[in-house]
Every structure is written in structure tokens, then in C-alpha cells.
């Protein structure tokens, strides 16, 4: 996250990734149209996903195996 000046006040903003640059950096060798086809949906998804990071605290563990209703779940 970063701070940016908005209308004379500081606001918390979330830095979004440059998915085209990331794809090029991965060396996927995609055409411009293929790059657009993957970058735009990722950017839209990130608009919703990235702000959720603010909800995470260090004690929150991941849920890789999804064992429901067992072992204390």
C-alpha cells in the first residue's frame, strides 16, 4: 500500500500490478492480443482481491485442504 495525496488529504491506496509487464517478464511469448486477453481480467480481479489483504492478520492460517467439520473445524 502507499499513501497518495487526494484533494489535499492523504488516502490509503492499493498498488495494482502491471499484468502485461509481469506476463512479458515471465517470458510467455504472448502476442499483444493474448496479453490483453489475460491482463484485463487479472486487473479486474485484483481490484476486488487486493484490498482484502487489509483483513489479514499474522495469526490467520491458510485453508489448503478444506477438511470440513473435522478436527475442530
Amino acid at each position: 500500500m502507499d499513501r497518495a495525496l487526494q484533494g489535499g488529504r492523504f488516502a490509503i491506496v492499493v498498488l495494482m500490478k502491471n499484468w502485461v509487464a509481469i506476463a512479458q517478464g515471465h517470458g510467455l511469448g504472448l502476442s499483444a492480443s493474448e496479453l490483453d486477453r489475460i491482463a484485463q481480467p487479472l486487473a479486474t480481479l485484483e481490484e476486488t482481491f487486493r484490498p482484502l489483504m487489509k483483513q489479514l492478520t499474522p495469526d490467520m492460517e491458510p485453508d489448503f485442504e478444506l477438511h470440513l467439520g473435522e478436527a475442530g473445524e
Binding site: A23, L30, I38, L42, T48, F49, L56, P62, E65, L68
Partner: protein, 460 residues
């Protein structure tokens, strides 16, 4: 005819399992060239299984209600000696050496397997417009999509090619085709039905379940396929129960959650009126309809998409050197998944646990939720956007909007038809409940069905 009716007919000797299989073959022969529901028809094998069922029933060896019943399998359930493609070039020549656990259980229950059903390529999409095995069409209107990814399953059940078809659901892939094709579709709790031998898409999101023509048929099928399987690391040890609702099942006093925000926003008007009508019917049957506020479902969808992008690309990365073997939509998703950082995947899994705990509060207030399964009836084949509630949406995102989050939570969900649109296409609702409460969902679904919620049979 339902499984229950056919089972009764078999035992009353009104017809034989061979006659049922031949009727199924005739319907496949009549309709499949236009619907493209099947990838592989195993007619000879099915007839042999039917003969065996007749012999066993005549000898008094009764395997239960699926004995002698024609069924189909989405073509990602591994079948010994029968090609299993997942609708893809990747598995085009894959012939498993053993059956998936679900297939074993269905065969043990005496089911007659008519063949392997068409689907969206790799189960990674919702149109079932398969670039390798043909475009599956909606039997209610061939210009419209059957939904997906279990589109062949939906079309085959709706047209009575089979009594039950197995599907898989990673982001709505049972409930969407059930909704669009006017069938019942059950996504059980994660871990309730074994995934062993089912070709994976998203390890922590994949569920296997049936599409049927009645709620009780879905329950009968779940009775046959549920249970712990040590070969599936995600399989639950929860004991199974009898899932079939009583004849006179009641929902009096049950608290049904009405999640107006999110689930009733940006809907096709025919969907909204049909689902609200079903809710009113539940109320008239004695259920208490309670408005309920849910955790952030849009956030949950984003979490589920991050998890799926990552897991699916992990599964198929080794095949991506040969890009020409994938359809463009699937290839774009696999490329997207390769770019999601590991930190996002881990954090999505952390958020997922948090969301599931937030839902614990919901289940203290209500016993289940009733909501639309899809925000619109089936879109036309080839449409990429749809206008809902005054805004244009990507068809894939709109179609999965109301179903995807439940996969991340692992909760069971039952889709059933609740009306027809003005254009004559089915509308589906879904009943969502706490983990391992399939019996409750099936009871509610059966009560609604008994109470007149439903649609006429598909005219095809």
C-alpha cells in the same frame, strides 16, 4: 420417468433393464447428433450390464434403486478401458486402467453406464462449446447454451437419454447446467463424495455430484456414491446417512434465509419472479423466511477465482508447451493462473478460512439459504456479454456469480428448477446449507417439488 418410477417398474416386471437401456440408446440415437451430449457411447457394454441386471433381479439379487438404471458419466470420471478425455486434447487418448471410486460405486449399485458425456474443455468454463468434441446445445432451445462445464450431463438428463448423469462442480459446473437445462443438480459437501479417479481442475474446489430429474433421484444417487475413500486425501470420515426424504417430508418451522443483497441483485426479471415465487411457496408450506445478511460474497468470488486460477494452472502447466491443443478461452485462463503469485494463492486460502468462519454466524440464524442458481436463463450460444439489471456483464462471470463462492466454502448446494422464462427456458434456484447437511437440503427440495415448484418435462 424418474429413477424411483423406473426402479418400481423393473421390480413389477413391467419392463426389463435391457428394455430401459434400449430406450435410452434410441433416445441417444434420436437426439445426440443435434445436442452433442455424448463424447463416447458405450452401447454394447451398457447392454451387457443391463442383461446382468435383469439376471440378478430375476434371481432375487437386488442391488438397490439404481439397479438396471441407465446413467451417464461426465467424461472426466475415469472408466477402466474406456477413453476419458475431460473434453480435451490433453487427455484425448487417455484410457484409464481403473475406475474412479464413484464409477465403482455406481456399478456396484447395478447402474447401467450408457457412456461418457461432453463437457466444457477440462471443465474450465461454463458454455460446453467444446472445440474438440462439438458444441453441446440446450434441449429447450438449441440456439442456447446448456451451461457447463457439465453441459452434456444436463442435456442428457433433460432429454431422458439417461436417468442420472454424474457431473463435477469446481465453480458451479453442476448447478449451472442443471439451472439452464431444467434438471436437479446436487453439489455435495467437499469431501462427501470421492474425487479419486476424477480428472482434477482445482484440487481444493472440485466436487462430484449428480444431475437428475427429481430431488429424490439425486438423494438416491448420493446414497450410492457418498462415503469415505482413503484414496482421496480430501475425503471426509463423516458417516453417511440415508439422504432420501420421506414421502410426507415437512419443512414447517425451518428457517430459510433470504439473502436479498448480492443474490437478488442484477437478475433477469423472470429469474427473480420465479425464485421469489418458490420462496413464497416455502413460506406457505410452513417454513420461516428470514432476511439474512451474508459475508462479502463478491470478495468470496474473488478469493475462489484466485484459488482456481492457481490450482488449475498448477495441474496443466506441464501441458502448456503445446499451446495449440487448448481452446482460446481455456488457454487464457491457464495463462492467467501462471501469473498469479504464490503469495496471492496463500493469502486467498487464508481469507477463505476467514470467510468460512464468518458463515458460522449465518448458520446460527438460519438453517439454509434459498437463492437463484444463475442470474439469467441460458444465454444464446456465442454470446459473450449479457445485460442484467441495467449493466453489461461478461457471460462467464455473470453465470458463475451466484454459485462460485459456495465451492470455496465447501458447503453443499442443491439446484432445482422453479419456473420457465417468458422465452420458455428453465429457471433454477439453489438451496445452500451448512457442511454435511445434504439430507436437509434434499428434504427442503423434495418438499418444494411435492408442493408444486418445478417445470414440465423438456419437450424434446
Amino acid at each position: 420417468m424418474t429413477i424411483r418410477e423406473a426402479a418400481a417398474g423393473l421390480r413389477a416386471r413391467r419392463f426389463s433393464a435391457v428394455e430401459l437401456a434400449n430406450t435410452a440408446m434410441a433416445r441417444i440415437g434420436r437426439h445426440d447428433a443435434s445436442l452433442r451430449a455424448f463424447i463416447t457411447v458405450t452401447g454394447d457394454q451398457a447392454l451387457e450390464q443391463a442383461r446382468q441386471a435383469d439376471r440378478e433381479l430375476a434371481a432375487g439379487q437386488d442391488r438397490g434403486p439404481l439397479h438396471g438404471i441407465p446413467v451417464g458419466l461426465k467424461d472426466l470420471f475415469g472408466t477402466k478401458g474406456v477413453r476419458t478425455t475431460a473434453g480435451s486434447k490433453v487427455y484425448e487418448n487417455f484410457v484409464p486402467e481403473r475406475n474412479a471410486t464413484v464409477v465403482e460405486k455406481l456399478l456396484d449399485a447395478g447402474a447401467v453406464v450408457m457412456g461418457k458425456l461432453n463437457m466444457h474443455e477440462l471443465a474450465y468454463g461454463i458454455t460446453s462449446a467444446n472445440p474438440h468434441f462439438g458444441v453441446v446445445r440446450n434441449p429447450w432451445n438449441a440456439q442456447h447454451s446448456p451451461g457447463g462445464s457439465s453441459g452434456g450431463s444436463g442435456a442428457a438428463v433433460a432429454t431422458q437419454m439417461v436417468f442420472m448423469a454424474m457431473g463435477s462442480d469446481t465453480g458451479g459446473s453442476i448447478r449451472i447446467p442443471a439451472s439452464f437445462c431444467g434438471t436437479v443438480g446436487l453439489k455435495p459437501t467437499y469431501g462427501r463424495v470421492s474425487r479419486f479417479g476424477v480428472l482434477p481442475l482445482g484440487f481444493s474446489l472440485d466436487h462430484a455430484g449428480p444431475l437428475t430429474r427429481s430431488v429424490r433421484d439425486a438423494a438416491l444417487t448420493l446414497n450410492a456414491i457418498a462415503g469415505h475413500d482413503p484414496r482421496d486425501p480430501g475425503s471426509s470420515r463423516r458417516p453417511v446417512v440415508d439422504f432420501v426424504p420421506d414421502e410426507e417430508c415437512s419443512i414447517r418451522g425451518l428457517r430459510i434465509g433470504f439473502p436479498e443483497s448480492f443474490f437478488f441483485e442484477h437478475l433477469h426479471e423472470d429469474v427473480e419472479s420465479a425464485v421469489r415465487g418458490a420462496l413464497a411457496r416455502a413460506g406457505s408450506l410452513g417454513a420461516v423466511i428470514k432476511p439474512v445478511r451474508l459475508p462479502d460474497m463478491a470478495a468470496l468470488n474473488a478469493i475462489a477465482r484466485i484459488v482456481l486460477l492457481s490450482e488449475a494452472s498448477a495441474v496443466f502447466e506441464c501441458h502448456l508447451e503445446n499451446r495449440a491443443q487448448f481452446g482460446p478461452d481455456v488457454l487464457a485462463l491457464l495463462d492467467q493462473g501462471r501469473l498469479v503469485p504464490a503469495t496471492d494463492y496463500v493469502n486467498a486460502q487464508r481469507l477463505r478460512r476467514k470467510m468460512r468462519r464468518e458463515f458460522d454466524q449465518v448458520w446460527k440464524e438460519v438453517d439454509c439459504l434459498i437463492a437463484p442458481a444463475t442470474p439469467s436463463p441460458a444465454p444464446r450460444i456465442g454470446d459473450t456479454t449479457i445485460r442484467l439489471g441495467g449493466r453489461d456483464e461478461d457471460v462467464r462471470l455473470a453465470t458463475t456469480r451466484l454459485v462460485r463462492g459456495v465451492n470455496a466454502l465447501g458447503f453443499p448446494a442443491l439446484s432445482l428448477p422453479c419456473g420457465l422464462s417468458d422465452s420458455g427456458l428453465p429457471v433454477g434456484l439453489q438451496i445452500i446449507g451448512p457442511a454435511f447437511e445434504e439430507a436437509l437440503l434434499l428434504r427442503i427440495g423434495a418438499a418444494l417439488e411435492d408442493g408444486g415448484v418445478g417445470i414440465p418435462p423438456c419437450p424434446m
